[in-house]
């Protein structure tokens, strides 16, 4: 780890000013991703601006019946927050499917959105990686790519965005409130993370110097019919091979509205509004769910080791939709997949 200067921000304005002064500076919140990457010399900030003590740790009701989650709310506090458990159980479930209780106690809402890929080529500075060192090539394309993306890839990068929480935020249509040198703005969740294209070094559409201050949930929480199904190499404490978040509105056996997002398959949480539209108005049965899965995976492409993910994703989508429709969401402690 290279040495750095440590400063503690006293307010949002202080934090934004401190980072504007120094392009090589970085915010640190829970530290669970940044400090790990600094130990690997993947991240080399010369200044750390500690935002962990800012008063951004509240979960508040909004006027429109939603929730506003401060950027420093810890993942564990959010997962067990009574309003989240009652009104947005798919979010609670997705958070509990990720990392460990120790890490969730540290990890922040803002930091979770900005965690970087777990691609082994990104993590090892001796290997090529266009995301870490633009122009050096993608080691995973013809290398070990079992964990890698099957949707939205480019010739420059096939890394996946690893967050579980963000899959739920994508299907809930969260909004990200940011503050920066040019003032405050709000970014729709779907427009927050990026596909790799020719610029995989950019994970998201935050501008330099911008800070996440809150994440806002609209009122629709899909609390009756939801599921978060995460498939991984061991039953717990592992990143997703494929995960599926579902929220349905069902009346008289028919789907009125559907939300569907996948994790572990792309450079961003993968939401497919065409598949959602195809579900709307249909009876909730397996043939309909299979059709939706086929739409999601219409352009899926494997790179060798990860070819199995395409069929795995198809089955996981059908299973998660079934769980949601039946009102029997995947348990995050009893790992039997019902």
């Amino acid at each position: 780890m290279i040495n750095f200067q440590y400063v503690r921000a006293n307010s949002i304005a202080d934090a934004v000013n401190l980072i504007a002064d120094d392009p090589a500076a970085k915010f640190v919140a829970g530290g669970t991703n940044l400090i790990d990457l600094m130990k690997m010399d993947v991240e080399q900030p010369t200044k750390l601006i500690d935002i962990s003590r800012l008063a951004l740790d509240k979960v508040e009701d909004t006027a429109e019946g939603g929730l506003r989650i401060g950027a420093m709310v810890r993942n564990s506090d959010l997962a067990y927050h009574p309003a989240v458990e009652a009104r947005y159980p798919v979010l609670s479930s997705a958070i509990r499917a990720g990392a460990s209780q120790q890490l969730r106690n540290m990890a922040s809402t803002g930091g979770n959105l900005l965690q970087r890929t777990r691609c082994a080529y990104f993590y090892d500075i001796a290997l090529p990686c266009n995301k870490r060192t633009p122009g050096s090539g993608c080691g995973a394309l013809a290398g070990h790519n079992r964990m890698h993306a099957i949707l939205g890839t480019s010739d420059a990068c096939i890394a996946v965005f690893p967050s579980d929480m963000c899959v739920a935020l994508a299907l809930l249509e969260a909004r990200v409130h940011v503050s920066g040198p040019n003032g405050a703005r709000t970014i729709a969740f779907d427009a927050f993370h990026r596909l790799p294209g020719e610029t995989p070094q950019r994970d998201n559409n935050l501008e330099p110097g911008e800070m996440i201050v809150a994440v806002e949930l609209p009122s629709a929480g899909f609390a009756s019919n939801y599921s978060y199904l995460k498939i991984r190499d061991r039953l717990s404490y592992a990143f997703a091979l494929v995960s599926v978040g579902v929220g349905l509105e069902i009346a008289d056996g028919r789907i009125k509205a559907a939300r569907l997002a996948l994790g572990g398959v792309a450079h961003k949480p993968w939401r497919d509004t065409r598949a959602e539209a195809a579900l709307a108005g249909q009876a909730a049965n397996e043939a309909v769910f299979r059709q939706a899965a086929d739409i999601v995976l219409r352009d899926a492409r494997g790179f060798g080791h990860n070819n199995f993910k395409i069929e795995l994703a198809r089955r996981a989508i059908i299973r998660a939709l079934t769980q949601a429709a039946n009102g029997t969401p995947q348990s995050q402690s009893n790992k039997k997949i019902a």
């Binding site: 200067q5 440590y6 530290g31 400090i35 790990d36 890490l103 540290m106």
Partner: protein, 169 residues
């Protein structure tokens, strides 16, 4: 010493070190540190509290688990300077007045370790799990203890030990 005319936490520009005050197992410490020092290295290298173990140094094993202001965290992924003012409990601080913590006694009763390397982390994690109150069933305990890896595979006995301590609490 911290310079009063600077906001808390600003590094001392001249030497590049930072001053950190924290309480560990009830004892207050004032230290001057390289800002890169993790909380784990502070405990092991500066305070000689070698109970907390360095298994992976990357948040992947749980051997370094301590209680930070009562909550379990992995001490390898936080900087000591970020925890200025905090209250830390390590495995060395679990026993009180010469009596083992009930979970420590339960680990002995159930033979919940072989090599013992993961045990300090398991103990701190288990103490926090019981205090959190989210885990009731065996499945829930297993899931919420999954951040602590045991290479010796003592999981069955660790679960039994936690269940015993839970009944006692």
């Amino acid at each position: 010493m911290q310079q009063r005319n600077q906001p808390a936490g600003r590094a001392d520009g001249a030497s590049g070190t930072v001053s950190v005050n924290l309480t560990v197992n009830g004892t207050r410490h004032s230290l001057t540190l390289d800002p890169r020092t993790s909380l784990l290295d502070l405990l092991r290298e500066h305070l000689d509290l070698t109970g907390s173990k360095k298994g992976c140094d990357h948040g992947q094993c749980g051997a370094c688990t301590v209680l930070l202001d009562g909550r379990r965290v992995v001490s390898c992924l936080t900087l000591a300077v970020m925890q200025d003012g905090a209250n830390v409990t390590t495995v060395e601080g679990l026993a009180k007045d010469g009596h083992l913590h009930p979970l420590q006694q339960a680990f002995i009763d159930h033979d919940a370790f072989q090599c013992g390397y993961c045990t300090p982390g398991q103990l701190c994690s288990g103490v926090a799990l019981i205090a959190e109150g989210h885990a009731k069933t065996a499945d829930e305990i297993r899931e919420l203890m999954s951040g602590n890896i045991c290479r010796c595979g003592a999981y069955t006995n660790i679960l039994a030990a936690i269940q015993q301590a839970m009944r006692q609490s």
